[in-house]
Subunit: 558 residues, 2 copies
């Protein structure tokens, strides 16, 4: 039976481009995009993408060339997710909050041939191009062709060279038929990891991976066939968790689905009643980027949002785990529900496998909800690898698994819970402390608005936890009535003593990346400057169990 | 970027076997199967499958060997959908209504190495094995190893040789880890087409095709994560439309989803009120096999069933088109809704393309809802081909398309409507008549229970339509008050005259296959025996438009 051959009818390379073609055929007159006063149907979106693809080809774009984009969530950003791969090229969406130096670094690393720039980012782009020019010793041939995306509703006339996005659409052939993808392993996009801690790495996705990841998300989130999706997540972030390729999705109207980092919850919860719209039917929210504290989840649900918690990484084409809700949990009290929901959950359907392993032996940890190990993944939606970085690529893959660098436990019910990003584990007196666990307790304090815990050098324990807090105003608009002693007393009541922060620092707000991740590396740098006097030995017995204390004493005697 | 290599972490062959492994891990203690007094959890089902796979290997089953099964929808039938491919073998489920001669033919054609037989079918199986014995000149080595599946609740002791199914499970290694699939193009199952008209053909599915088809169904039918599926569709029929591989599905309890041929609707509609259970929340029904008449759909909805209409073929791994509901149709009157729903619809999400083409030129027909053409499909869930039948295989694939043999039109909204199975088109006086269209009018007659229209030889028109009807009883329990003249008068009121049946034959019930398809070949044979006197020439002008009459006269003069 293996002799039966593949042919064009029974073996078609998997690519999310088929979703747009299908939408244009079966939802031709249904709304695809609403952006300010611009509206398109699926048939128009498909035609605009085909026009743009033909224009890109006429600009001498070749197979696997990189097309970079610096833009917010405008229609052009959405369209390029289809048009660029239709031309055989690779889409590289840049984080819109990067500075000129970073933009220049990524343009150089990706060897972008074309550089689309939203009119609002022209100053940054100009500066980045100037930096590139200097580096290439004024050899303009090494620069990408810059093209402005002007405001689609009220064109400003701002330009960066001769060409403009809408002009390319107009010039393009409306009857252009893109070549079919020959190999589903071909690259479709290039995403640089946010680089909060180290040099950015260029993560390459395949058509196959993007296709499967998109299917999983629709399935796992029960999106149905006529959702209305609000683009609250930046499209440059893992290609908007692949929702960019999930074609029949209107934008605007009465929102049914949205994605965001948990930090957005605070904005919604802290909003004054008159600032909030009325939510008549539940809005589905997919969240990730950081484990949402149970208390935040609970408050969101009470406002009418139905939160699904996902966990992923750029390298996994966005979400890899989803905390799938089980009907039997419906009768639990709200705080238990919120705690269950704060777990990262189970693998998305198209991921072949997920596990928590001892990274040395590569053996699975027991399903006891306690033993920590490295979270590892495998499946066809894992990245192809890092661009031009064989060392990082081979480090990321070990014995057929992708090593996430995050630490978690596996519960008895098969649900995984992240305990920390590897680099966020605080090792105090030889004992791992999960900063996430500590943060989730801090978030339950009635006056805490934002919390982040990092490792702080400690003369006796090596490291100890240091908490950074932004607090809410009291009824008189003040904040100073919450003291370090209050928080430490609260923590002692709610945590094992060895986990209690040794220092609490109040800040107006926490430093964050454009995607809402707290920039812990900044806090860690700050924590290093703090002077901690040695803990009195009488306190030690309260801080750690006797066995750990003995171990540490033994070590200190070596 | 194409240099980035595939490895075990980022390229995992697609196979539905991963669904069961995932279910056993994340839904370990959730019910997988309820069958009479037997209940299993997903963890048990996974373990039973692994045990059976290891037993099959110890019986010397090799890669790509065929394992045939003759059984109704018992737990063993479900388990073998995973256990057989886990052992590297190919599952061949046989239609449980076949006679011994047909069973022998298929065992010989598939060269089955093992033959599982439900205890209820031992007499047929014995007879089939005897026929095989005779053919192979008593060479027992050429016979498959026969194994009985005894009643799991109350074992009968019936045997067909030494081995029994539960015994193989018990003997199997509970810690057996199946080899991973090396190539997703490897065969997973072999399904013979029902053979109502010609020699059965062995349709081979790949792991990749089964995987994608399964994903599409869950997506298109909005099954969500905790459906309760009633096994009303035989699993031997296209592997139960691939629902066999859709793992977290309990069977029993309060049913939320079921699949069936439209013929089952009649049973539900004709049931006396006391025979019907109360339907408290809507039951999702996926139907196919024949275009359901609008009137039937309407009645089903009023009983509390939410019907989704699908169209498919064995060669397309089950459903290929689904009549996806559009919210804007919600406000239409029920009969308009039912007519929209009776269309076959749009392609399932993982199918690359569907079209209606002129089979000679392979050009697409206009989207006018009128121009008929051949329905063609392409995508990775189309069969690998027909086993040991290169001629039929190459005939089925044309210029990168799979030719369904069915005739349809494409509507302006991108929804496809089937007009006839190619062989069911009635060509009368050079004009195509769709028997389906005629049947749907007949079904709207208040006394018609079942209707089938076939071509009948006609001295002037070549063919003309002949209707076979089963009618409902009147209030006094009689049927004879409906006459041929009544029906013809009714048709003349509701159809173009040339489409009105020339003969109406009343039957107690229509002949059907075990899967509920009306066996038109039997009716066609019957229709050939009918004597039709030539239509009077005065009638001709009423029957066909003048231009057709002129054409025919011109032809008759050649």
């Amino acid at each position: 039976m293996n002799q039966l051959p593949k042919c064009g009818a029974n073996y078609v390379p998997l690519t999310p481009l088929t979703f747009l073609k299908r939408a244009s055929s079966v939802y031709a007159n249904r709304t695809s995009i609403i952006f300010e006063s611009t509206r398109f149907t699926w048939s128009q979106t498909y035609q605009r993408c085909r026009r743009l693809a033909s224009s890109l080809l006429s600009l001498n774009i070749h197979k696997n060339d990189v097309v970079s984009v610096l833009a917010p969530n405008v229609p052009a950003m959405y369209e390029m997710h289809f048009a660029v791969p239709m031309a055989g090229a690779v889409l590289n969406t840049l984080n819109a909050r990067l500075d000129a130096k970073n933009v220049a670094t990524l343009l150089r690393h990706s060897e972008a041939k074309v550089f689309f720039v939203d009119y609002q980012y022209v100053p940054v782009a100009l500066e980045a191009l100037r930096l590139l020019m200097d580096e290439s010793q004024q050899n303009q041939a090494l620069l990408p062709l810059a093209i402005v995306i002007d405001d689609i509703d009220s064109p400003t006339g701002v330009r960066l060279g001769e060409l403009e996005y809408e002009q390319l659409i107009q010039m393009g052939d409306p009857k252009f038929v893109p070549d079919e993808i020959q190999d589903e392993w071909d690259p479709i996009s290039l995403n640089y990891t946010s680089g909060t801690t180290s040099e950015p790495k260029g993560v390459v996705y395949s058509h196959r991976g993007a296709y499967l990841s998109t299917l999983s998300l629709i399935l796992g989130w029960e999106m149905g066939v006529e959702p209305v999706y609000l683009w609250s997540l930046p499209m440059f972030h893992c290609n908007g968790w692949t929702f960019t390729w999930e074609s029949p999705h209107a934008v605007g109207r009465t929102v049914t689905h949205m994605c965001c980092a948990p930090i957005i919850f605070n904005i919604l919860i802290e909003a004054k009643p008159h600032e909030r719209g009325e939510i008549s039917s539940p809005v589905q929210v997919l969240t990730g980027g950081a484990p949402p504290p149970a208390s935040l989840l609970e408050k969101m649900e009470s406002l009418g949002f139905h939160v699904t918690h996902a966990y992923g990484l750029t390298e996994a084409t966005g979400p890899a785990l989803v905390c799938e809700w089980q009907a039997k949990w419906n009768n639990l009290p709200p705080d238990s529900q919120a705690r269950l929901k704060a777990r990262q959950g189970i693998s998305i359907l198209t991921l072949a496998d997920v596990d928590v392993k001892n990274i040395e032996t590569m053996e699975s940890v027991p399903h006891d909800g306690k033993t920590m190990g490295e979270i590892v993944l495998r499946g066809s939606s894992i990245m192809k690898g890092y661009l031009k970085d064989p060392e990082a690529t081979s480090k990321a893959f070990k014995k057929g698994w992708f090593i996430t660098g995050d630490v978690g436990v596996m519960h008895a019910d098969g649900y995984l819970e992240i305990k920390d990003r590897s680099k966020d584990v605080i090792i105090s007196g030889g004992e791992n402390i999960s900063s996430v666990e500590l943060e989730s307790v801090l978030y339950r304090h009635p006056r805490v608005l934002e919390a982040a815990v990092v490792a702080m050098p400690h003369p006796r324990w090596g490291e100890s936890p240091c908490a950074f807090l932004a607090v809410k105003e009291n009824e008189c608009g003040g904040k100073d009535d919450v003291t370090e002693a209050d928080i430490i007393t609260y923590c002692r009541k709610n945590l094992p003593h060895f986990m209690v922060p040794k220092k609490v620092e109040f800040v107006p707000k926490l430093p964050k990346t454009s995607t809402g991740k707290i920039q812990k590396f900044q806090l860690r740098a700050l924590a290093k400057t703090f002077q901690i006097t040695e803990t009195k030995s009488t306190e030690v017995n309260n801080d750690v169990p006797q066995q750990h204390y003995d171990q540490i004493l033994a070590l200190s005697r070596l």
